[in-house]
């Protein structure tokens, strides 16, 4: 078996990484990765390969040798001609696949965590600065455990009467209506959702819904209803307690751990 050149080894490595991302991670191990992520990771692999082969002059010359031979050596004229036809053709197909019109919405960058307003309101009632407002029933967790449990129970009732159709019976965003929506409902089981925001943030998102998204949070196409039109203030706080109790994730607080 002939010894593989450094260039061929690099091409094989690159192809292996692509296969790993596209078919192993995206098929066997988990769900498919978006094309943007695969492109980004392949770009990095290309950089890694170029770094490795170009640090030393000898290795770099060895890496470039097949390319130079293909381009300059008369004995490899056939290979050169085939590549000169094949490479632009591949580029053409790739470009066409990227720009051709498809029957689905194009990839979009969405602001998943819109910034809240400075003041928290319920209808026209001003509750207070969003940073300082705390869940009025949170203190019961320490002071009166039975009362706290009652609020969590009430939150469970409110959730399964109103929210679970979209957010799912396991709070994982896999509700009955979820697959008809874009953007998809929030998955509260994700460790990046509940722990990253204060309870007042969730109150704001629930009470104002999709129509209450700030100007920066384009596109404003969330199907989340304005729940302050249907739920009481207490019911919203209770459902927030339920989200936290069910998933085991605590909403964000500031500066408590340091003290």
């Amino acid at each position: 078996m002939p010894k593989l050149s450094l260039f061929t080894k690099c091409v094989i490595l690159f192809a292996a990484v692509w296969l790993f991302l596209e078919f192993f991670i995206g098929g066997v191990w988990s769900v498919p990765l978006p094309a943007s992520v695969i492109g980004m990771y392949l770009g990095l692999i290309l950089v890694a390969i170029l770094v490795h082969v170009s640090v030393e002059d000898d290795r770099f010359r060895e890496f470039l040798r097949p390319i130079k031979e293909t381009l300059a050596d008369d004995k490899r004229r056939t290979r050169c001609t085939v590549l000169f036809v094949l490479v632009p053709l591949v580029m053409l197909v790739f470009t066409f696949s990227k720009v051709s019109t498809k029957a689905e919405a194009p990839a979009s960058v969405r602001i998943a965590h819109p910034a809240p307003p400075d003041e928290l309101t319920y209808g026209d009632k001003v509750i207070g600065p969003i940073q300082e407002v705390e869940n009025p029933f949170r203190h019961l967790e320490k002071d009166d455990k039975d009362a706290f449990r009652a609020h969590a129970e009430n939150g469970r009732r409110v959730y399964y009467q109103n929210c679970f159709y979209c957010h799912g019976d396991d709070l994982d965003g896999e509700g009955h209506f979820a697959h008809g929506l874009n953007p998809l409902p929030a998955n509260f089981q994700d460790p990046g959702i509940i722990p990253n925001f204060q309870e007042s943030f969730f109150f704001w998102r629930i009470s104002k819904g999709g129509p209450g998204l700030p100007p920066s949070a384009t596109p404003w196409d969330s199907a989340m209803p304005v729940w302050e039109d249907y739920l009481t203030e207490e019911e919203i706080w209770d459902v927030i307690i339920f989200l936290s109790e069910y998933t085991g994730y605590k909403p964000r607080t500031f500066g408590e751990a340091a003290h």
Binding site: P34, V37, L44, E104, F254, A257, A258
Partner: protein, 603 residues
């Protein structure tokens, strides 16, 4: 003869310097005599007021960062030269300061331009700011004079102050120059951080507003305005950033000189200078993410909306670009170190470990730059069950990112350790035990950092931010200190199997140095946009609204265009300064040749 040799450079520097002082003297009184006219804004022709202020401020900051960073390491290098009695260090430090001289005048000029633009375009804002910070502006003028004359004395007195005692005085001037420079930065940081976070803090680090909520009237003290919520984090972040940026720019200068050098001696000298520049940039780059983390944490504490805007909303994609650029910096810095090993016989021992190190860094950078919310089509999102992938979605969380950045830092440190060891054999008898201890420290640290990172997914955010992440940082820093100490003792009287063949570097490595400087500059431009843009439509956040036609946050694409223009202008000006340096050296070489010819003639 000496005066003739230096005259072209000195005259130019003096000319620019005097012009800058003149501008400053003209501008500052104007700033103080502004009355509270009804004119709130005046439009800057063609490009608009915001763009004019943006370009002037960013250019001023880039040059300022350079001239504040360079003296910090120049004085250390001069001290090393004095201690080791190696004249090369002294020459290099002097060369750094010469670059600083050229950039100093341009910094002052840009500062003058910025003040002109602000007074002309934003009279009401300036009136408010001078009303609060007036005394600090007078103090700033004194500091500016102090820095100017200390720099002139430090630079022009270099050759004259070479005696034993006068060298000590010269070093003292260098330290004084840094004191003035740091104080200048701290004062001006107070103004801009106040615009972002006009609040002081209580004992539990909660913000206390400094303005009457109804009237917007300032109700605090000057010190409270200076020592505002984000002042110290920005001070520290910029102080470290200046060192890294200064190192990168002198590294790029050395690379440029290396590429155009005609003689072996010149190549060797500029190779050495490039290595030093990269080393300094790395020294600044390693703690920089930690300082940035502290700043980010305090922004969240000051205002949650601002924090979410920064990391999860308006500016979140900017931070993905930042991650890519930091990846470029670390990969580039490592590439340069690995290239450097090729000029040392014995360095090839460590080359076999390079593919693994490349692998670790690239995997870590991949995690570091994976966004939380992925760019995906509706079909891809439906397949993932949302904008977050069930597997790589975890990479988007801060606990993953903090973990990998610590691993990148440790790997980079390992590269440096291998570079330092190349061509050397330790003379101590316990070298095997020493290597086992060092390997153990690295292994334990990596295990601890990864474990803490995994725990971070499960604990409350506040606990992660306040406890777990600082512990990860402390572990990484402890490794740096401990391993350096052990390695220094191990290799104190090491046998050298080969000298470093300075000058025998590939041109590719020099282009990497230039790339690092450009990346640093781009990064600073991007972060400048983020820091300023976080205020959204406020001149002073929550106190003084921006009611000008520019009261909107520019799109990232538009911002990147402006930043690109700034980078082009900056490098054009820096290139001019480098070219002047080259021009002076050519003249010097000609005169030296002429002198040599005359001497032969006399014989």
């Amino acid at each position: 003869m000496r005066s003739i040799r230096n005259s072209s450079k000195n005259r130019l520097a003096l000319l620019f310097g005097l012009l800058a002082i003149y501008l400053f003297l003209v501008v500052v009184p104007v700033a103080f005599t502004q009355d509270a006219t009804d004119t709130e804004y005046r439009a800057f022709p063609k490009i608009g007021s915001r763009n004019a202020a943006w370009i002037a401020a960013q250019l001023h900051l880039l040059f300022g960062s350079f001239i504040l960073g360079v003296p910090m390491f120049a004085v250390v290098i001069e001290y090393v030269g004095m201690r080791t009695k190696d004249k090369r260090y002294d020459k290099m430090a002097q060369e750094f300061i010469k670059l600083c001289m050229g950039a100093f005048s341009t910094t002052a000029l840009m500062g003058g331009v910025l003040v002109f633009v602000l007074i002309w375009c934003y009279p009401k804002v300036m009136n408010k700011m001078t009303g609060i910070f007036g005394p600090t502006m007078i103090f700033y003028v004194f500091l500016f004079f102090g820095e100017t004359f200390t720099l002139y004395l430090y630079s022009y007195g270099w050759d004259r102050m070479q005696g034993k005692v006068s060298k000590m005085w010269h070093l003292f001037l260098g330290v004084l120059l840094n004191v003035f420079g740091t104080a200048i930065m701290f004062v001006s940081n107070a103004w801009l951080t106040y615009q972002t976070s006009p609040a002081t803090m209580d004992s539990r680090h909660k913000p206390i507003p400094l303005h009457n909520e109804e009237t917007g009237e300032f109700i605090g003290t000057l010190w409270q305005a200076v020592n505002n919520f984000t002042w110290m984090p920005v001070n520290i972040h910029r102080l470290i950033g200046n060192v890294a940026f200064g190192g990168a720019i002198v590294g790029a200068y050395a690379a440029f000189r290396f590429l155009v050098a005609k003689t072996k001696e010149d190549k060797a000298h500029y190779d050495w200078m490039g290595y030093t520049g990269n080393f300094i940039a790395l020294c600044g780059l390693i703690p920089l993410p930690f300082a940035g983390y502290w700043l980010g944490r305090d922004i969240y504490k000051f205002n949650q909306t601002m924090g979410i805007n920064m990391m999860g909303s308006l500016f979140s994609w900017l931070f993905i670009i930042q991650a890519v650029m930091i990846g470029v910096l670390f990969i580039g810095a490592n590439y340069y170190l690995w290239s450097g090993m090729t000029r040392i016989k014995g360095g090839e021992v460590y080359a076999r470990l390079r593919p693994y190190m490349v692998g670790i860094i690239v995997i870590c950078v991949a995690v570091w730059m994976t966004p939380r919310t992925l760019i995906a089509t509706a079909g891809e999102k439906a397949a993932m069950g949302g904008p977050n992938h069930p597997l790589i979605g975890y990479f988007g969380l801060m606990t993953a990112k903090n973990t990998v950045v610590n691993l990148i830092i440790l790997t980079t440190f390992l590269s440096f350790l291998f570079y330092r060891r190349s061509g050397k054999t330790p003379a101590v008898g316990w070298r095997k035990a020493g290597n086992i201890i060092i390997s153990g420290i690295f292994g334990l640290a990596v295990a601890a950092i990864v474990t803490i990172g995994l725990i971070g997914f499960k604990v409350e955010t506040d606990f992660r931010v306040e406890v777990l992440t600082p512990v990860q940082v402390l572990i990484a820093l402890a490794v740096l200190i401990l391993v350096t100490a052990i390695d220094l003792i191990m290799y104190r009287k090491a046998m050298r199997s080969s000298d470093i063949n300075w000058g025998q570097m590939s041109d590719r490595s020099q282009y990497v140095l230039i790339l690092l400087a450009i990346t640093f500059t781009s990064l600073m431009g991007l972060m400048g946009y983020a820091r300023s843009g976080l205020r959204e439509n406020w001149h002073i956040f929550g106190v003084m609204p921006d009611t000008s036609p520019d009261a909107f946050t520019p799109l990232l694409a538009d911002a990147v265009n402006v930043i690109a223009v700034i980078i082009v202008i900056f490098f054009a000006l820096v290139g001019f300064i480098f070219w002047i340096g080259l021009w002076g050296d050519k003249k010097k070489a000609k005169l030296a040749n002429l002198e040599a010819g005359n001497a032969v003639g006399d014989d």
